[in-house]
Structures are given as C-alpha cells and as structure tokens.
C-alpha cells in the first residue's frame, strides 16, 4: 500500500484496519464482477483505474485542491446542484452509501428496518472508512424521504458540518418556489463556506461543465440502443457511478472517448453479448458504489441491461440546464427548472416517472423491466406496484425485486431473475 495514502487516510481520521478490509473486499468484488466480463470496451480501462484509486489518488487530488483553498462538499442526492458548488470554487462529491458496514454500530442510531442506503451512510461514518465524508468541508443532507430526513437528525450529532436542504414533495408552483428558495439559501451557504461570490460568468461556466458531463452520459446511453449492445449494463452503471466522484472535465473526456470506441463497435456489430440477447431496463432505487448485486445477477443470467431508470442513471442526468441566462438570477431559475424535473418517488403524484419508464423501454428496445426496490424504501416500493400494473397494461413484462445489500438472498433473487429472462425469451 502506498505510504503517502496511508498517512493521508490517517490524517483524515480513518480506521486504517477497517479501511484496509473494506478496500480488499471492494477490490475482490470488483475483480469478480467487472474484470471477468468478456469483450469489455478498452475505454473501461480508465474506469478500472478510477475504481482502483477511488480512495487513493482521487482523495489525494481532493486534498491537493483543499491545500489550494478549494472546499469539498459531500452530497447524498442528485438534488444537490453541482453547478452552485463549482461556481463558488468548490468540488461536489457523492458520499459512500452502497455497502453494509459497521452494522452493529449503525443500529445504535437507526432502527433495523431502515433502508440499506441510509444505514450504509451511517456505517461509513461510524466505521470511519469514507475518506470523502472525512475530507468534506460541508455535508449536505436533503429532505427527500422520511428515512433520510429523520436520519440526518441523528447524523447531525456525528458530524459538525451538516447542512440540511429542504425539498418540495409536489410539482406545484409553491413546490417550485420552495426549491428556488432552498437553492438560493444553499448558494449563500456555499459562498460563505468558500468566501467566493458566485457571478453570472462563474455560474454559466459551471452550468456548461455539468451539462457537458451529463451530455457525455446521454451519448453513452443512446449508444446502448444498438443490438448487440456495445457495452454491458454493469460497465455503463459504473460510468454513472463514477460521475459522482470524478473530476468533471476528465470524466466528460473519458466518457466521450469510450463513446467513440462504442461507435466503432456498433459499426462492426460487435457487442458484449450476442445479438437478440434479452434486454432489460432496470428501474427504481439508486445504486451507489459498490452496490452491483442485482445488475451482476441479471447479467450473469443471460440478459443485458440497456438502461437505468435511476438517480445513478437517467433520472439523475436526464435534463440539461439552460445556460443562456445572463444574470445570476436567471441562471438560478434555470437551475431550479432543471432539478425540479427530477422524477424522484418522493413526489406525489409522480406520473412523469411512469412515462419515462415506458419511453425508456421503447427507446432502448427493452424486452422487460426489472423494478429494483430497496427494502424499506417506501417511496419506490410503493410506486413499484402502479409501475408494474401500467407496464402490464402495455404488455411489457415487469419483475419487482425487493432486496438490500446483503448476500443471503442471492439464490432466490437469481431464480426470479432467471425465470423472468426465460419468460421474456419464450
């Protein structure tokens, strides 16, 4: 292990032993799940590298940025606008929430029947194994579901830099006003943190940077329409996950590079699976690193995932922000409009999401939809029933899977997924 990293982790207050064991589990899982895939695009080498350095080089970069006076803001949700952070000379990073860690500690703060994602965010804090969280100058907790909202009250006792962002629950004028006001408040808080006043120029530039990053992922998504699919769902998910960690400009460049390669592949009809492989749209809860369980089960059961209707996926990056505003006020409006379209299940009603699932099924020529609900994530598991009904009404097969980060149910989930794939094939 690189000595420089070890002292960096030590300075961040990580529990080195626990962190080592986390990295070794993560490394092995990555090897088993990603590196065993056949015919991967060469451009994935970049993402392999990023993942191998996700707690190393990337943290070093953040620490170097901090030395130069830049601030780091950690977030758990796609409702936290990266544009505002960047415009005030701060870096926004996603915080770890994709694996069970220090669960016995977590249950001193949270009830057992809390969703795995929330528990995980506490586990990474209590186990002292998330260098992103420890390097953050501000942690943003957003009022999405009740679970997160109440959990942040307890998280507040564990960290001294938690900022709570309120969010609307209805797509009404009042809801939009609330979001706009909250973004203004967030803007002031970020400006105070960095000591940098946001200008129309800096905000325009930030909007362009984030738009470029999202556009690159749009381009990647569109290439997945091809049959055979030029990239596995696991690799595409990985790109969507790295979106939350990486340097924005470098990420955009790397995704575009892989897209160039995929275009060549498509022209040669070269795929990661044979033509006519059953195509699955994955829809539902977000999948944070290293939550690869369900996609791994699906893609080792003879299907290929062609789209993610998820915050770590198309729901998170679907819309771009209008960059034509000339004043901070106009740009803040544009940012609000952009984020207000996110069809998260905390909204009621949330019909847009249903339309998006149907649209995505058509666009990516999916043969069926697997709805992924995290156990105890009420917004998404509640929506899974109307989603299933609506899809059945359109003769689109749908399988609802409710699971968590544990491995005990892999056998049963695999049976369901395999049976669903057989059903689609028949």
């Amino acid at each position: 292990m690189n000595d420089e990293y070890v002292s960096m982790w030590k300075d961040l207050g990580l529990d080195l032993e626990a962190h080592d064991s986390l990295l070794s589990v993560l490394g092995n899982a990555y090897k088993d799940i990603f590196l065993t895939q056949k015919d991967r695009p060469e451009g994935m080498g970049y993402f392999d590298f990023v993942m191998s350095e996700v707690h190393g080089l990337r943290i070093k970069e953040l620490m170097d940025e901090k030395l130069q006076g830049r601030k780091i803001i950690g977030s758990y949700c796609v409702f936290v606008p990266e544009e505002i952070a960047l415009a005030a000379n701060a870096t926004l990073v996603g915080l770890c929430s994709g694996a069970d860690f220090a669960m016995e500690e977590v249950e001193r703060y949270l009830p057992r029947n809390t969703c795995a994602l929330i528990k995980s965010s506490f586990g990474f804090k209590l186990g002292k194994v998330c260098p992103y969280l420890e390097s953050a100058d501000m942690i943003v907790g957003e009022n999405t579901c009740d679970g997160k909202k109440k959990a942040y009250e307890s998280l507040g006792s564990l960290v001294d830099n938690l900022y709570i962002m309120d969010l609307p629950q209805m797509k009404s004028d009042q809801g939009r006003d609330l979001l706009r006001n909250e973004y203004d408040r967030f803007k002031s808080a970020v400006e105070k943190l960095t000591g940098v006043a946001i200008t129309a120029d800096s905000l325009t530039e930030a909007v362009k940077t984030v738009n470029a990053k999202r556009s690159a992922l749009h381009r990647l998504s569109m290439l997945r329409k091809a049959d055979p699919s030029p990239i596995s769902g696991l690799d595409a998910l990985l790109a969507n996950q790295v979106f939350f960690y990486d340097n924005p400009a470098r990420f955009t460049e790397s995704v575009n590079k892989i897209c160039d390669e995929l275009e060549t592949r498509i022209a040669k009809k070269q795929g990661v699976t044979p033509e006519k492989t059953p195509r699955i749209l994955l829809s539902g809860c977000p999948m944070a690193v290293p939550n690869w369980k369900l996609p791994w089960i699906i893609e080792t059961s003879g299907a290929v995932i062609v789209g993610e209707e998820s915050c770590v996926g198309e729901r998170g990056v679907r819309n771009l922000t209008k960059d034509s505003g000339t004043t901070v006020d106009e740009l803040m409006d544009a940012i609000t409009d952009r984020y207000f379209k996110v069809d998260c299940a905390i909204f009621t009603p949330n019909e847009d999401r249903l339309d998006h699932i149907e649209d995505m099924t058509k666009i990516y020529k999916a043969d069926g939809v697997i709805h992924y609900g995290l156990q105890f994530c009420h917004p998404y598991i509640m929506e899974s029933i109307p989603v299933e009904k609506a899809l059945e009404g359109k003769n689109i097969p749908c399988l609802r899977i409710e699971t968590d980060y544990g491995m005990e149910d892999v056998g049963q989930v695999k049976t369901r997924v395999e049976a669903f794939i057989e059903q689609i094939k028949d």
Binding site: Q412, A419, Q423, D426
Partner: protein
C-alpha cells in the same frame, strides 16, 4: 434418446427420465445436507443422453455434472403441469423452502409469477416444524386439521414467532387439531395472496410436496371458490418439466 430431468429441492430430489415422450424412470430421495452426493446416488445406474437440472441446487449441479443444463423451477413447473392438465392457467407450487404462484397464457408460457420472500413462512418447512411441535407426523397433520370444528387464528407468519404462539396456545389448553387448522390457514392466506397477484380465475394446479396436504387443498378451494387440481405425485412435476424441456430442445 433418453432425456433426464432432476429437481434438486431443499427437502427432496426427484428424477424423471423420458424416452419418446414417455416416463421410463422416476425416482425420489431426500436432499439431506449434501445435495450433490444425493444427486449422484439417485443417478447411479440410470441411463440418459442428456440431463437438465432445476430447483435451488441446479447451479451447483451444473458445475459438478458436465454437459448438464439448467432451467428455473418456474419454467419447469409450467411445462410439467401442462403434461397432465392441458388447459392449466394457474399453478401453485409449495415446496420445502419456497412457494410460488405462476400464471400461464393460453400457450402454456409463463405470463407472470410471484415467489415468497427469503424466509420459510408459508412453505413446507413451516408445516413440517409445526406438525412436529404438535406431535403429528407430516401425513397426519393435514387430516387432523380437517377434523377441527373451529377456526383458530394464528397471527404470526414467521416460523419462529408462530412456534412461540403455538406454545402459548398449548399452554392455554387449546385443542391440538384447532391449532393445526389455524396453522394451515396461515399458510393458505399467504398462498392466496400470491395467487391473487398473478391470476383471478380458473382451476389451480397445485404442485410440490405441500400439495399432498388435504387441509391446505380444501382451504384454498373453499376460500377462493376455485377448483384445485393435484397430480398423484405432485413432487415430480418440476423434474418432469425439466426433462420435457430438454426433450423439446432435442439435445
């Protein structure tokens, strides 16, 4: 050509060999704690040209036995059931550790299915444990429950909680047969939930070991007002279906 189907369940293993569409061999054994050794035993001396495995042990089987294929229990049951019940539209399969309801379209293809969650609630294992707690053998359990004159409600679905509920009912002096009926009812409620989620009318073909239990059969038929059809050997359906699928593929 001889086509074999093997269903490696959590409690039992079944083997069926087909030749020219006819069953020429049919065997059953307990799974025990080492499914592969038991599978090897059951296959000893059996001749076949190709084999397809189903059940929870199918993937393990595929690793150990070269050139074997696998299919899920769901598709295997859909196939096997149609051999005896040509127009079957709904299947309920309750095995040792899982239960499922399957709706078929008019061509016999799987249209929709539901499976129980990760625990043993509402499965054969639950019935087995409860029978033992009440001092019944598995074969006596269903008929005894049918003799109860009163419905007694068991609220816990969980095997562990239901056990303590049963213990406290025994302590209160409740009738053993009534408790048995209450336990059957709790399994039936769960099964009905799954059936209703996949299909709403027509006869139900019941397979798996629990289909042998007359009380479960009667309670489902009564509650849903639907006909229950059971093959004389409902545990063979999965293995038969696997063999039929293989024969169709013409390995």
């Amino acid at each position: 050509m001889k086509y074999a189907g093997i269903d490696i369940g959590s409690r039992t293993i079944e083997l069926v060999v087909l030749e020219g569409g006819r069953i020429i061999e049919s065997r059953q054994a307990d799974t025990g704690f080492d499914p592969i050794t038991e599978a090897k035993k059951i296959l000893a001396g059996v001749a076949y040209d190709g084999i397809m495995a189903t059940g929870y042990g199918r993937n393990l089987f595929e690793i150990v036995f070269d050139d074997s294929k696998t299919v899920t229990e769901i598709k295997a049951h859909a196939k096997g059931v149609r051999a005896f019940f040509r127009d079957a539209g709904t299947i309920l399969d309750i095995g040792g550790q899982d239960s499922k309801a399957i709706a078929l379209n008019e061509n016999g293809r799987v249209q929709k299915f539901e499976m129980n969650d990760r625990c043993a609630a509402g499965t054969g294992k639950f019935i087995e444990i409860m029978a033992k707690n009440l001092g019944f053998s598995i074969d006596e359990f269903g008929p005894a429950a049918l003799e109860a004159t009163k419905d007694l409600s068991i609220n816990s679905m969980c095997t562990v909680f239901a056990e303590s509920e049963v213990t406290s009912l025994i302590a209160k002096g409740a009738d053993r047969k009534e408790i048995a009926r209450g336990l059957h009812l709790s399994v039936v409620k769960r099964a009905i939930g799954m059936i209703n989620r996949v299909s709403s009318n027509g006869p139900i073909v019941f397979s798996g070991g629990v289909a042998k239990n007359p009380c479960i059969r009667e309670l489902i038929a009564q509650t849903l007002g639907r006909q229950i059809l059971v093959h004389q050997n409902p545990q063979m359906i999965g293995a038969l279906g696997a063999a039929m699928i293989l024969e169709e593929e013409g390995t």
